[in-house]
Amino acid sequence: MVSDFLPKCTGPLEAGYEPAGWDGATLREMLEASEKLTEETGCYYGVSELALKETDPIRYEKIFSKLRGGLVNARETAMNVSASPIVQEIGELCFALYTPEGDSVALSTGIIVHVHTMSDAIKFMVRNDYEINPRIRRGDIFSNNIPKIGDVHNADVQTFVPIFWEDELVGWAGGVTHVTDIGASTPGNVPVGPITSYEDGLDLTANKIGECDTVFRDHEIRCELGVRTPMFWKLDERCRIAGCHMVRDAVERTIREEGIETYKQFIREAIEDGRRTFIQRVKELLIPGRYFAPTFNMLLFAGERGLPEYAAVDTMSQAPVEMVIGPAGEFHISFDGANRWGYHSFNCPPSAMQGAIWVLLTQTMIPNDKVNDGAYFATSSNFPPYTISNATAKEAATGAAWGYLIPAFTGLIRNISRGVFARGYVEEVLSSYAMTMNALQGGGKDQYGNDTGLLSFELSCVGGGARGIADGLDYGAAMWNPEGDMGDCEVWELIMPLLYLGRGVKPSTAGPGKYRGGSGFQSVYAIWKTVDLVMQNAGDSGCFPSPGIFGGYPSASGYRHNVLGTDLLDRFRKHRAYPSREDDPADSEITACCDGEHLFDRRTMNYPYRMKHGDIYYSWYRGGGGLGDPLEREPDRIEADLDGDYLLPRYAASVYGAVAECDPEGFWRVDPDATARRRREIREMRARRAVPVSEYLASEKARVLEGRIAKETRRMYNESLELSTWWREWFLEFWGLPDDFRFEEGGE
């Protein structure tokens, strides 16, 4: 793991060194004091009274709006400096203001994932006495992208600028952008391929990268050589620095107007205020108790060419998401029972886990502009060491941490939904959001012959979970960004060597239910005018990471369908049919309208492989989980689903019990009476099939004892049995298993 803090600096740099903290203290002393005060009083920094807010609520708000105004402005302006579509079209950037110790005071709009991640990175610098070596001075610039230090995944690159008032460091401006390529062993920004951290790409380990507001030339050269898309890199870095400097200006302006003492008081109070507000919100929205919602995901790498034997295996991950709400508004999240970290790039250090928590809480419980680290201080978490949820082992690769976070945290949404439902906030209920997958990723030469790393952010528009009062949002948001945007096809084709053959609704991706999940969509591309390209799929398959809620069904699980060595160009020339969609994999248009080597399987995670001009790459984006029994779905909604290609007709009958017919114009009619009859039959069949719970458990226990479950599941459970005492006891007690129980591994 990353060294928990080097011994105190000694050496020539120490000579002549003046502490940058307040009243002659070092930053490290300030941090330690802050932690002690918070620990002892239960209030942030020992602020037990919000004196400024209470005596002058107006002035308090005015200071907040000035600082936040500066952050939003920094983001809006800096966004235009960046070049990458991820930043410009999708808005993947965020600025924040931190206390000298690294606690966030206010955040801009943007990826709110980073409420706390940059905080960890600042604290890392403080704890490691950066103040003494390499020194923290006015005009310095620092940069980090290491999740074990404080980040979600390596492609979120952070820039920090210290803010001084006279001789004291009064805060930090932090900015983060999601870069196009991070120089990992495989191309892209959520690289699926690295199996250790040594392949994660460019390492910026909270480095000093500039002084006097100027970036060091050696840093620029290093980055230019270290990533596949140096031009995007350069502009993204300029965008972050320009934004940080604008934040610094806003802080200096505020101090000039309000006075330094008021500013100092304000930043403490604002965080304590954030803490109290979060607690109050928890009390309003949730019912105290334990909520438990495990989620599973498969990683199918067995036999994958390009990976060593120990990494080329199929595994399964477990996210046993437990949420405990206390009577005084305590909010605790535990992943106790998660499986071991592994030789893949989906491992999550604690910062990454915090990122996922905050991006989801700001979409559900606290969707406002006032969130800060106070909310973090109002919560607690347990990510057990050595698990995939706390992968601090130095060699653990983290480049695609989202690969675990996305499936894992549907459990948090379902837990919150049960809480708000119990309180009566039905309209706030959401089933599981969709996996933001497939990730179309690759690299090589673009259509102009330049080096490139690709990731299509079309995936920011997947289906939402079914709502308590309506269907889920179709193709409109991502778990990590509620403001999805597929982007224009013409913009993607401008920057990627791809030719769209179609982009449309993908039927039966959503989880069925009384209210169905939001639908996913699909894009079919021809690889276009590139001489050298590798591509990969990154997605889920083999299980259901977007389960339904209250009887709703999970959304469809993933598959891959790409075609190599096609006859596509010949088909174009001869006006023969070519594929533009694949509505039904059982009756595939891609199969029917394209010859070649069809990679048509459940291998949705691949090591990159070569694709050529005219090959077909198929990317379909997932749907959200359903809510309620599908047999309760109103017939006219089913009719609309059929007419809109949201549902394959055969599932209208089998899942919804709908009796539907298509008229000569192609419009569907669901017969309500016949449907009611069919549904009665299905319910009767369900009743006939039902067995008492005790019998069911007995038969399942036999399966457990005999190990008649998939080998990946057995392996995963063994890891959990080994790593967690709590989970082990709970599991053994539930099934009534002996203390020394372990699954046999191997076989099928």
């Binding site: 609520p57 105004g69 402005n73 410009q88 109050q280 528009c461 949002l473 769209y500 982009r503 021809a526």
Partner: protein, 716 residues
């Protein structure tokens, strides 16, 4: 003629509820009229509103219309047609596989127009009803690629079939939008030929439009939306506009009615691209500001328009406003130029609430709009608004709101502010009301500041211009402590947007995507080639402009052309508009000049350190503007009187709670003041349409053009 005024210009802004009329005579004297908007027959509202305005000059429509030389119209009927999805039955033909455009709406349209909080709060997001239902969209096998090459040839049989099927379904218009048609229109042109053959065979006259012919810019979805809205909502609006035009002519007018377009110019109602007039009213103020400042010799202006529901801001730098190329309106993305204007959801009708969770003040984003607040019981509003706070503080005269047309209830305002704001915060009711107003003004201030800083400037470089019904009331609060070069409030602030429409040029502005790379090490010969390509595109746009003007009987010789080049660094996605004074680019040197201007502009807009000329440049679009001289309003010019206002202008004094103290404020009737007068703060200048507050320590000087200059520290 019985009136001593000879009306020259008529400007009409038909809003959702009210139609405002602005009439100006040759000396710059003006009157404002109002009438209810009549959505079913806009001509009626137009007429009633004109009558109302002219009645102030004791004249009639029949008497006045023949003397008018210009009439400008802006309205919301097209926007309403779009919002309500009440348009023509349009069939759409797209590249095969892309038939779901309107349902997918790029995902992004599911939260456009939401407040920040709702954009985060994902369970509130909703897709729009598709502009065109899925069964009226047909895909045709074809593809042009990013290089403009035909990757997949057009399937002619499928093309003909698509047209036939759509006609059989009874469509009233057909729109064609193929991918990369802006790079190479060959397939769209081929498609149009095929469609015309089918139409002829079937004896149909359904119009067919292709995107490369109308909105030839990159961005397949915004381009499709624009083309479709043209057929769906704009063409039906043309029928209305023609009826208004003939009504005006029947009443003796000798001019062709022009409409305000989103790029800031006016165009003929016969223009082939009428969707450009979808949003026009709100930008009127910006155009008026530019005109005003051209006349009084001010280059940098920050425009602030405070209305009941929103705060609109725009910035004019070096005498030019910015233009957005992909704006969104009515939760729809467009590919038409729109005068850059930001709208913040905070106005004088914004609701004020104390968040029960955090006990913090929240203003907006929703508002009481024209229903004012709790102080107007007839409005049935039970939540406090900014207006209510202004009433509590004594800033608004409850008996002189809208000239006394409606009476406000100060007691009710006091009670609601006490119960809803002061009590939860544990502070005095006046302190609470004053705090809310300060916070409101501070929020607006931050917005102003961030736009100016974002441009790399400081307030001292700008003149703050304030208008809109609520502008003069809060301008002092916004200007305080900011250090603007000047703070100006026109006496006609309440009707400034309608006035602005009358100041706009008769201008067509067309753009076309080029995406021409300009490498850093390019040779003179290569530059020459690029210049030729830009000029080639300009020639195409020039033809369009000439054709449009010819509909109004304007000859090519009368048109003044200007090229604007939109460019960015290679690889970037946001471009900037470099406005040249050229009619054509002339040799490699002119390209060098454009690039130099771009570098300067970039450093101003973003940051000097962000300049990246080593990457090379990309010319994304060429824009051609063609303008023709038209009559504009004259600036009022009156003789200056002395400092001291006439005694009959004074309405006595009123107690006003100002930032923690009770002060005596002088009350003045605006119409009785004389140019040259100077009023010291704290004073309140009242007129039927608006209230100007002069803060303590400030004074207001009324100049010879009927513009108030708010100046700090100049008492009388």
């Amino acid at each position: 003629m019985s009136s001593r005024h000879a009306p020259r210009i008529l400007a009409i802004d038909a809003g959702g509820t009210m139609t405002d009329t602005f009439v100006i005579d040759e000396k710059g004297a003006f009157v404002v009229g109002k009438a209810q908007t009549t959505p079913d027959d806009e001509a009626q509202g137009f007429l009633s509103s004109s009558r109302d305005a002219l009645s102030y000059w004791d004249t009639t429509v029949e008497e006045a219309f023949p003397s008018l030389v210009t009439g400008i119209y802006s309205g919301t009927s097209m926007l309403n047609r779009l919002l309500e999805r009440k348009g023509r039955k349009v069939g759409v033909i797209v590249s095969k596989g892309m038939e779901d455009y309107f349902r997918l709406e790029r995902g992004v349209q599911s939260y456009l127009g939401y407040s920040y909080s709702d954009r985060l709060h994902v369970c509130t997001h909703q897709h729009n009803e598709p502009l065109v239902p899925r069964h009226l969209v047909r895909g045709v096998p074809e593809r042009i690629d990013v290089f403009g090459d035909a990757a997949i040839p057009l399937d002619e049989e499928a093309a003909a079939r698509a047209v036939e099927e759509l006609l059989d379904l009874g469509v009233e218009a057909i729109c064609v939008n193929f991918l990369f048609s802006y790079r190479n229109p060959a397939h769209e042109l081929q498609m149009k030929d095929i469609a015309e053959e089918v139409l002829e065979r079937k004896g149909s006259e359904v119009p067919v439009t292709i995107s490369s012919d109308h909105y030839s810019v990159r961005g397949d979805f915004p381009r499709l939306n624009t083309l479709t809205v043209e057929a769906f909502a704009a063409e039906p609006s043309r029928v209305h506009l023609r009826s208004i035009d003939s009504m005006v002519k029947e009443h003796g007018a000798h001019f062709d009615l022009r409409i305000m377009a989103s790029h800031g110019g006016t165009i003929s109602i016969e223009s082939r691209e009428l969707a450009r007039t979808l949003v026009s009213g709100p930008i009127g103020g910006v155009i008026g500001a530019k005109w005003l400042c051209d006349h009084i010799g001010v280059e940098n202006v920050f425009c602030t328009d405070i209305g009941g529901t929103s705060f609109d801001l725009a910035i004019i730098t070096g005498g030019e406003y910015d233009v957005k190329t992909y704006p969104d309106m009515a939760r729809t993305l467009f590919a038409i130029p729109l005068v850059e204007m930001d709208s913040v959801g905070e106005g004088t009708g914004s609701f004020v609430r104390i968040n029960p969770t955090s006990c913090r003040i929240e203003i907006g984003p929703d508002s009481a709009g024209y229903r004012i607040g709790t102080s107007w019981p007839q409005g049935n509003i039970d939540t406090v608004t900014i207006n209510d706070c202004d009433v509590v503080l004594g800033l608004i005269n409850p008996d002189y709101f809208l000239g006394g047309d409606i009476t406000l209830d100060r007691e009710e305002a006091l009670k609601s502010v006490q119960d809803q704001v002061a009590a939860p915060l544990g502070i005095d009711v006046y302190r609470a009301a004053s705090g809310v107003v300060e916070l409101f003004e501070d929020g607006l201030k931050n917005n102003v500041l961030s736009r100016i800083m974002g441009k790399g400037y400081a307030p001292v470089n700008y003149t703050l211009l304030s208008y809109g019904g609520g502008g003069p009331l809060h301008v002092g609060g916004i200007a305080e402590g900011m250090g603007f070069e000047r703070v100006l409030v026109p006496a006609w602030a309440a009707g400034f947007s309608a006035f602005g429409c009358s100041c706009s040029e008769f201008e067509y502005r067309f753009n076309a995507s080029l995406d021409l790379p300009v490498a850093p090490d390019i040779s003179q010969d290569e530059k020459e080639g690029l210049v030729e390509m830009v000029n080639g595109q300009c020639a195409f746009l020039r033809e369009k402009i000439v054709e449009e003007f010819s509909k109004s009987g304007v000859d090519e010789g009368e048109i003044v052309f200007r090229i604007f080049v939109r460019m960015q660094y290679m690889g970037q996605l946001r471009d900037l508009e470099v406005r040249t004074g050229f009619e054509w680019l002339d040799g490699p040197e002119s390209l060098d000049e454009v690039i130099r201007d771009f570098e300067d502009l970039y450093a101003k807009v973003y940051a000097l350190s962000a300049r990246s000329p080593e990457l090379g440049h990309l010319i994304t679009q060429v824009v051609l503007s063609g303008t023709v001289e038209v009559e504009k309003p004259a600036l009022p010019l009156e003789e200056l009187y002395g400092d001291g206002p006439p005694t009959d202008a004074s309405k006595g004094q009123r107690d006003v709670y100002w930032r923690g103290d009770w002060l005596k404020a002088g009350i003045w009737e605006m119409d009785r003041l004389k140019p040259g007068n100077r009023i010291a703060g704290l004073s309140i200048v009242e007129s039927p349409a608006t209230t100007l507050v002069i803060p303590p320590g400030w004074s207001a000087y009324l100049d010879e053009h009927w513009i108030f200059h708010l100046e700090p520290g100049k008492g009388v």
